[in-house]
Symmetry: C2
Subunit: 334 residues, 2 copies
């Protein structure tokens, strides 16, 4: 059968080496994907004289599936984060971050199984900020009915498809009655169309306290952009950190751009010591998206076995490659 | 010696009963405080026809120390939260929430010892929101140089006074470069005046992940209003929840208004089953503020012993009173 074309943005820092690892693991697992690789990163590419070419964006638009490595977001450098640029340009309206305890990695929490669904285009991320007078600055938080309905729809649809019981909308409407109030109103409207799924509203501060005390209280969480940024990192912490948790951005027309959400770790780049787990599990999420049946489970199980063997915090790239190539994947059919 | 006058706002729901508990415990411990009690709450007081009288505010302004019970913040009721009103009216610019593992209360985390210092007057709490067109709403986040410097000063001063090593400024300046950028700039200016205290800047999402993985990475945390709201609840969760963690608001001219930050729990109000620990420890924080030497330690130790005895999540009011009255305070001198 003809392979599926997918876009690959290896990204900055450790990006290229963990992308290489994912490519090799997918190859070892006979995944029918042909990668279309493009450079997107914080250094100007000498070949194209660009951070991000139109062709890179077109590639995702055409293939509808893609995988991106980490891209650095310089603080206070004046230009926009590439992560945000991709979200805007490709209209990646929902960010899905599953967060589950990995069998091979012990933390203070057992059996965590949470899905954070984050509105990915507006809120505090509007980019609208200005100085009113010297010493007084303001940022605009924008909430629209359209974007709120769209992400709420996605969350309930996801919950239904994945047999989840409950959706919790996270907010601070006791303070931001108009913006977060509109977000909740939209969630309620959508909730009515899904009578089989329980719906609740939880204030963000209380949500954080409850997550830390007992993550089993939650199932699927849906929320505006900034809260999603915060809560998804908190949840990642419960199971071991951003080095272990996948992420996938969903755009209009069914685009799925999965990503490593951890940093580009320039300090260890090029040493082949970076942990590819997040990018690998993000890659797995696009295999699920493509309905590639047993492949995603095979690779996910293999990576758990792998983690169980590794005694250090980092899963060493060579070690993992040796495992996947030498030992082969358990239950591999091909 | 003449007793110190302090204001007491028992608050809503379980407020009156936990305030009663604190009064009795303070009496048993011979604390030289005379309470000046005022009603502030979400129901109109029939005696004054008011939620909040001018006399109540004046009482805090005069006494400079006060203790407040929980006050409900109705979501979407149109009128402002009383908590916020008090912060504005009394210019309570810094909110200090210490968070430490209580010897008597086991959680997943040991030896937590964090201080969250929250800017308490601006940021997303500006109250400025409007609908631009139907389906598009915005909230304004305001950051000023004055308020940022003031809270940063307080944080470094606090760190120095309490022998703390490090202050971490928490922000999202990679997205809100102007507002959070100004906040950081002010923190840096103040940090330069305290060369003995280490200073660092941590992005809020990363901070949440690190807190959950290893709270010992932090010491004193200072941050804008909304992040403080979120992080202080997260920290409270690490040690058992809002029912166990004190809070104190600091205003211009040395006002200290300590508070219970948990909810007013109307469902259990009047049953004498509410846990007074938070209000008690907040009361203790004003004793420390007043430099009442051994009293605060005595009461805090007694409450730990008490917690160690109680096997349930809740510390029963009668039980605690029996302890403090019958057994007396350990090392009590009077
Ligand atoms: C790097 C940064 C701009 C980004 C964000 O704030 O969204 C990151 O934290 C994330 O969660 O993807
Ligand atoms: C009740 C609410 C308005 C308040 C806040 O958001 O500040 C509370 O969460 C707190 O932390 O004191």
């Amino acid at each position: 059968s003809t392979p599926i074309r997918a876009t690959l943005f290896p990204g900055d820092g450790i990006g290229p080496e963990i992308a290489e690892s994912v490519k090799q693991i997918f190859k070892a697992a006979d995944v029918p994907i042909e990668w279309e690789e493009h450079y997107v990163g914080t250094e100007i590419d000498p070949r194209t004289q660009s951070f991000l070419t139109w062709e890179s964006l077109e590639s995702v638009r055409q293939n509808r599936v893609g995988l991106k490595g980490p891209m650095a977001t310089p603080i206070g450098k004046g230009h926009r984060s590439l992560n945000l640029t991709l979200r805007k340009e490709l209209n990646l309206y929902a960010n899905v971050r599953p967060c589950y305890s990995l069998p091979g990695y012990k933390t203070r929490y057992d059996n965590v199984n949470l899905i954070t669904i984050r509105e990915n285009t507006e809120g505090e991320y509007s980019g609208l900020e200005h100085q009113v007078v010297r010493g007084v600055v303001e940022s605009l938080k924008i909430i629209t009915r359209q974007a709120s309905l769209r992400v709420a729809e996605y969350a309930f649809h996801y919950a239904k498809e994945h047999g989840r019981e409950r959706v919790s909308a996270i907010h601070k409407a006791n303070i931001m009655q108009k913006t977060d109030g509109l977000f909740l109103k939209c969630c309620r409207e959508v909730a009515e169309k899904y009578p089989d799924i329980k719906y609740e509203e939880v204030v963000i501060d209380n949500c954080c306290m409850m997550l830390v005390k007992n993550p089993a209280l939650f199932d699927v969480l849906v929320m505006p952009n900034l809260y999603g940024d915060i809560i998804s990192d908190l949840c990642a912490g419960l199971v071991g950190g951003l080095g272990l948790t996948p992420s996938c951005n969903i755009g209009e027309g069914g685009i799925a751009l999965a990503e490593a959400v951890h940093g580009s770790a320039p300090d260890i780049a090029g040493k082949n010591s970076a942990n590819p787990t997040t990018l690998l599990l993000s890659g797995v999420s696009i295999l699920r998206h493509l309905n590639l049946h047993d492949k995603p489970d095979q690779i996910q199980n293999a990576s758990s076995t792998q983690l169980q063997k590794g005694s250090t915090e980092l899963l060493i790239l060579e070690f993992s490659l040796a495992f996947f190539q030498g030992v082969g994947l358990p239950q591999q059919s091909a």
